[in-house]
Symmetry: C2
């Protein structure tokens, strides 16, 4: 097992806010960072080194990978060829398998279901003609999603009745898709699990998440999830992490259907640090970002213990313009990502409101 | 009052670990940093921009200061001419007065005593011939310290009896000095106070500090200081901060003599974030580093509330080689500064052991 000593360099594919917070976590541990991204992003301001290059510029990618001690990534849509090229020069953690599974919704659902874990009913949709058959399989209401490159609600269209099939197909641009039966869930939660190179596993307390327009708005801990359900959620996440021989932080988003035979249903997985774990920066001894860095560097995991209750709200688009009021709010931990332009729907920062821990862990 | 908006740049004179942790705190708030230092240091790895230049290269200093929105510093021995040059181009916070006072031990003691605040007996020593008179004034045991450029126990020599005067004078290199009567203190504490541009003040809980060989080894909160003494300690620190019209984090080191007429005696002040406040990174909602940045950026102060008890130990020289064992210790928050060479006496990092808060604040 190759571990990276203090003074070594973590290479990060991607230059967004997740890369930024990973770079800061690495710096706490005396590690340097080298960002590879195709345009200057928030991570570049705090990284030790940056390479701006196209993800299909394999010469630039391999030069980058040779300059670092390990390569990780902050977004799941890293092209597989890019990851493979990097891996010829440096260890890649998490491994390519996690990317393969996570960047195609059909592969992901098939993989999770293949582990015997509960997922929503789903069917492949390769063409408009497929849709009627798929609707018959999943039932309605359902949601049509492109297999690839969807995020934050993009590339998705609802299908409430068979008559809406054509409109949905047009809305997603007629790309290879998956139809998923809608689940009547009570709430959404996510398990943030971290797995070390030696297979050691740790979990953060499970947040309850609220989305709006497909974008995460809020994560709250404790989640009030019953203990038995929380145990089951962790078991599901562990099953996925182990099946992927995963190293690093993995987020598994789940629907909660309390009191049913399968109270936790996997929605999607993200092979990276996750927005629903941002509260760990302010409410835990060691954040998700530091634990991801520890794991990919081959270090022991840090304590995931939560010392405070927390509510994390994303600051989306112009909401970040309220920074002065948020900075003045007692107990509010403000995080801004240094993005210049507060475009609609763009994650500009987040605020975590912490208070002395009262609830039981979930 | 000029405040720096997110996306703006904080200029920091000095590139050591304090600058590094300030830069990371600025990044949390969406602020960029620009380090000015005379050789590459730990802060450069995480800063957005770095200028390497001599502190007496006024062209480089003013070019740097023009490129940023506010200038602050991470060490008190910034030459006054450098600070003055920077201030012609950008606001300097804290202002030059704090540097003037803090970089000369005689000026500092005279200033604090002039505020009516308790200090150890002291006398100026301009020459070896002065020493006998000074010893008569302060009594023995005493300690001879150079007026300027001493830190971490350097430039100091004990004087246990008048016969040791010549040896002490030689030991400190015969520079302009101050003789300070030794105080029979029970413990050492420090007040970390932060003052905003509008005069708002906040305090962190007061740590009890242990030194060895003139270097801080450990800071513990809560300190078990009696409440009345803690109040007095805060009042002393506020008096100094207000007299300096201070903006930012100020550390005031004090001796504690419980049950005496003057239970708190000022030892020295540091016009900057301070090693005895490193635990605030892991035990408080908003760290000393973030609050310094908030203050100098003209932002409202953040909550200094402590959510956990904490023991901070410095990792000095080869102690940092134990990083792997420390990383594996549950509840230990490890911080390494990215310094390449673990030289004797060099602060390489620190570890803060946190546990759920049990004590009363001090």
């Amino acid at each position: 097992m190759t571990s990276v000593s203090p003074g070594g360099t973590i290479g990060i594919l991607g230059g967004g806010q997740l890369g930024r917070m990973l770079a800061m976590a690495a710096a706490r541990l005396g590690l340097r960072t080298h960002i590879y991204c195709d345009h200057p992003g928030p991570a570049c301001d705090v990284a030790t080194h940056t390479t701006i290059g196209a993800f299909d510029d394999m010469t630039a990618v391999t030069t980058f990978a040779r300059a670092v001690d390990v390569v990780t990534y902050e977004f799941e849509n890293v092209p597989l060829a890019t990851a493979a090229a990097a891996e010829t020069c440096s260890p890649l953690r998490p491994a390519t398998k996690a990317l393969e599974v996570a960047q195609d919704r059909l592969t992901e659902k098939t993989f999770v279901a293949g582990l015997g874990l509960p997922v929503a009913p789903f069917a492949a949709v390769a063409s408009e003609a497929d849709l009627a058959r798929a609707i018959a399989e999943t039932g309605v209401p359902a949601i049509l999603k492109t297999r690839r490159l969807g995020y934050d609600g993009k590339g998705q269209a609802p299908v409430s009745s068979p008559g809406e099939a054509r409109a949905a197909w047009t809305a997603i641009g007629g790309a290879a898709a998956i139809l998923e039966g809608r689940i009547a869930f009570a709430s959404e939660v996510s398990v943030l699990v971290v797995r070390a190179m030696d297979g050691a596993i740790a979990y953060y307390d499970i947040p309850r998440n609220t989305h709006s327009g497909g974008i995460l708005r809020r994560s709250i801990v404790p989640s009030s999830l019953p203990c038995a359900d929380a145990d089951q959620a962790r078991d599901i996440a562990r099953g996925i992490a182990e099946a992927l021989d995963y190293v690093g932080v993995l987020a598994v988003e789940m629907f909660h259907l309390p009191g049913t035979a399968a109270p936790l249903v996997v929605n999607e997985i993200a092979p990276r640090v996750h927005n629903s774990g941002h509260w760990t920066l302010d409410a835990c001894a060691v954040s998700q970002f530091e634990n991801h860095i520890r794991a990919v560097a081959g270090w022991p995991l840090g304590a995931t213990t939560r010392h405070s209750d927390a509510e994390m709200d994303n600051l989306i688009g112009p909401e970040a313009n309220d920074w002065a009021a948020l900075a003045a709010e007692p107990g509010a931990c403000l995080h801004l990502y240094g993005k210049n332009e507060a475009r609609e729907g763009r994650k500009m920062g987040h605020v975590t409101r912490v208070r002395v821990r009262t609830g039981t862990p979930s």
